[in-house]
Symmetry: D2
Subunit: 361 residues, 4 copies
């Protein structure tokens, strides 16, 4: 559905990069969940640009919750979060030449020229701020029910982070890191790559890896609303995500069945798998093991090198050279967007499975 | 939504591996589309097991269309296709020990033991026969509107097929191949790998690559119903798919923005991109270039080696050794399922965009 | 959504009056519900034509459940019920002249002439047999959870039945009546009216009144998915229903607030209302009192008098005189359709509220 | 779906009576539609209280459109309208005693006491201001495509307005009337009834009748998404609506088929019906004639007489006497809400049928 995601717990996004306000309506969360505005602020800070490796456009991200909260708790009715746009420089944008790798051309095809083209308009990564604010509430709600989510940069320009080890400790640690890597030694190397690309007017991408622990077994549907289907649907909404894989994902293509199957063991009355090549999901349904997935993040399309474009009015070939403020990498900022939309999708799956009083206040 | 996919053009699946009949309801296709039963039969034949590289369970797949077709054309009202199950051997299945890599355990968690466990029940790949029959009608409808879909095995056990070249010729060729590779020389090598695995009681996976040509620009939504979101939602419903990537996908993680961006050129008044790293989709919306994606197919979980399991009644550890008839590879059979569900998802996106008389009779 | 109703518990209808088979896919019911085929047969018998007051086309309504049931209980996966059409006389129908009061003309506008026009095709009341079969399972499931549904003819050609009194006794009684009235003395009078109309080649309509008891308080949504919205959406799908009212409905227009408000009392710790002018629903949400609604059923449009029509090919005015087998009244047969679709809608509302294990096995 | 209505054109509502802001997100309207802020203001003025027949709480209804509009036209992306609450007196409300006829008790059952109870919270008629603002845009869009909507008070406390005559003239006239009646002589009589009820601390209800002209034939679905289903779903969301009937509605119950059927005639090549007992809808699909329906509006539940209630904490019986500012009638104010939600529902049906560029810019 357009700009609305979720069946029982649903989020609706609105806003443009250079419009007056962006926001989200978060509907269907259980009543009575405590709203932690500091945590929302913290999550928004993780999305904000950071120093040399990010754009110079920094927004205050002052948010207002104008509905759905009463005496500090969710009411169960729709919660609207608004974030004003303050630091916009629309003169950096012109309509005529679509930027390669961006949605300028496809927006023109879809909206016939009526789209707000400034800064990517409704397609802008800016809109993810609203998603992060809404997601923060979902993350809190899941945490109160023992479900933890965390994402790290598993690869950036061929530099690889270590794998998840002690999930609980790793996820706790990631929550506080502005540059989310499990191996602290890798941070400087990755940042150097980003700065190198920036110095050449270029940009880098990477791979994000996410773990979710604490999910009950038996969530998801065999056909169409598999957990993979619902999560990938959500994840591919995030600008720049071009691949999603669960468990060993594409690496499974080179394994034998005897290597890929996860055998079962009973440990203290609890049934677990001895390995987790399937990423906690069998037949589209959670099996109680950690849910693991990775997202491919393409390099930021905004670069400062000369690029080929076409004048949409005259249909003549042209050359484009961007000015303004842009990120040489967005992967570290995209991380919290992945966590947010994952939390929203999981709240929906859980409420569909267990009813609208889930997650529990 | 459970077992139903699509908003304007929707497919609903039902049936179990060892039940009486499986089937699909296909709703929302434009009225007046000619039904080609021979093409449906052809598509079903592509899904059927083949010789030594497949299971010995071969179904006739005699289908009946019991509604929605009048005088050889779609009426615009729901079309129900039924396929009886004839060749079932339920005694090969027992309920107590969940098979690793299958949905037996998660089905138990979700359905509390009431599921039909024989042959995987509703989770069985058998159900995809109904999807293929419904998809055949969607593929025909798209073809009548100049939209072609085709999938090949781009990798199997580290053996790689060539890339797409002349899309139209390649897609035409693939439609007739029971073992879909673009480079004919590669077929024997891949089959040898499958037979080798089979001889060891094991199985293999691989990667499928799909191309869609002829799609108009401007289809899809910026948030949540991006083309990537909708297609991945559909694709991850197919059993054994554990990864989906668009354009260069995960390879984009190691590219610079200057390498990943697709510049625009005007050729004869038509705007095209000079490269297609983004797989025909920008900002979630088609740009008129070929839509390209790849799916990771895990090795078939049914293997004949001894595996670890747990007795669900006693919660005691146990050993499982499968008997019966199973595929050492399903990737060549999964190909037509990918084409089918892609066609269904695209018909839905096109009908949402252009109205319920699309695709045109 | 086209031909599919429900979000968590959903029913999908297919078939045409003179097609091969009609049927329904019922998805999302809790696993483990016992299937009572005799009760399904009983419900279908209530929909079947009866003696002089009905059409001479009588179908055996032999149904087959081909999926979703294992060892006599629901599996939790989609249940497909098929009913073959056996007693069809297509020669009674011609395409050219749309019948007044029927969907012939609107089907032509929507489907451009590709619709199956024989016997009303997919618009036919015949399709409700599949709805009744699916609804029988929902009715059983609700009954096992203490929720009872029943409908009587509250008015027919100005003759009025008595009001509900002892709900439980009345609902039990109605379940066995082929001609559902609470006051036995009224049956002969109403039937005489129907026979009188039939003898004049004419038909009659009436009002059906439904009561649902045992629903918990707190089901429904304040906006858009109010209980009234969801039920009316379902009810207005039934051919011939042209009005739906809850509680006192249109009679509320002439009451004062002091007469229409239902005061609260506490009786043995349970909160009840002393009157029920609002039909058990406040603010779109159940309050625990009986849910009461009435449906206006228009007179059967198939009559044997001469009527005005237009030749759709030539656009010339014409005269139409129906032949064949038609009902002078369908209200007594529509009753079980109302019960069925009400049960399906309530199962959906309850599963959305309390999760997919509701109604409980 | 909770708080979101529509599939292709969708509206999402948020806000509480005494919250900071209320609002609506309107998504899926065609790009390029001109936004007429004066018309939105005009529509909001029709919803605002008027003199002696309304509450003394008058809101300025200053709205802000913060997204989805660029250079005075819709962009095709979601449009968010915000309306601040300014004139609130929360001290008039207490939580303990549910008001008869209101949603206080059912909200408690659904939200477990976490709901914002002040002024009815999210259930308040106040929220309809956002619906009216969004609906004004839909009404404008339909008007640009030749589709007109209008509603009058057809009955209030046994006083009846005249029927529609010249639809186009009547609908034009109604658009400017604060008290919408077709017969000007009736206005004073109806207002006198309202004032009389008010003087007794009581309230009145009535019946609203709506006409829609200019709709093309062939819109709607045969099962589940009939035009009646979709409109009634929308209309029953409006607080106080307890009945909806199409065409002759409940009066059809006493007609014969020969009286109720609408014969067809060809007039200048256009097929019309000679009567319109079916309200422009056959088989759930528009036939090109005016769509006619009526809504029963119950008397405002807020009255100043002593009423029975129960203390929700102690479960003891109690007496309630409201203070504050309330409407003795809301029917004249509800009129524009009916028009608004009708327009939104029709935009959705039309976009589903004809694609997302409808209504045309």
């Amino acid at each position: 559905m357009k700009n609305t995601f979720g069946q029982s717990v649903a989020v609706t996004l609105f806003g443009e990069s250079h419009g007056e306000e962006i926001g989200a309506v978060l509907d269907g969360l259980a009543p009575g969940l405590r709203i932690d505005e500091d945590f929302i602020r913290h999550q928004l800070s993780l999305r904000r640009p950071q120093g040399k490796i990010s754009t110079a456009r920094v927004e205050a991200d002052e948010f207002r919750i104008v509905s759905g909260v009463f005496e500090g708790r969710t009411t169960g009715t729709p919660l609207c979060i608004l974030i004003p746009n303050t630091n916009t420089r629309s003169k950096d944008y012109t309509k005529g030449l679509p930027r390669p790798g961006h949605a300028d051309y496809t927006a023109q095809c879809k909206y016939h020229g009526f789209q707000d083209y400034r800064g990517g308009g409704h397609f802008s990564g800016r809109i993810t701020a609203a998603l992060v604010a809404a997601g923060a509430i979902a993350i809190s709600a899941l945490r109160q029910n023992g479900i933890l989510i965390g994402t790290h940069i598993s690869r950036l320009a061929s530099i690889c982070d270590r794998h998840f080890g002690d999930y609980e400790a790793d996820l706790e640690m990631l929550g506080d890191l502005a540059f989310p890597v499990l191996n602290p030694a890798i941070e400087a190397l990755m940042k150097k790559e980003i700065e190198q690309a920036a110095s050449e007017g270029d940009s880098v991408g990477g791979v994000l890896e996410t773990a979710v622990i604490g999910l009950p077994a038996g969530v998801g549907e065999p056909w169409f609303d598999t957990v993979e289907s619902v999560l990938s649907h959500a994840l591919f909404s995030i600008p720049a995500i071009k691949g999603v894989e669960f468990g060993d994902g594409f690496a499974l293509a080179d394994l034998r069945g005897s290597e890929a199957n996860d055998g079962f063991r009973s440990i203290g009355g609890k049934i677990v798998t001895t390995t987790n090549h399937n990423g906690g999901i069998n037949g589209g349904i959670t099996n109680g093991m950690p849910v693991i997935f990775r997202c491919a993040v393409k390099p930021t399309p905004s670069i400062f090198q000369e690029q080929e474009s076409v004048d949409l009015d005259t249909k003549e070939n042209a050359t484009l050279k961007l000015e303004g403020r842009h990120d040489p990498a967005i992967i570290h900022r995209a991380r919290v967007v992945v966590d947010s939309i994952t939390a929203l999708a999981l709240c929906d799956l859980l409420a569909l499975r267990f009813g609208t009083d889930f997650p529990d206040a």
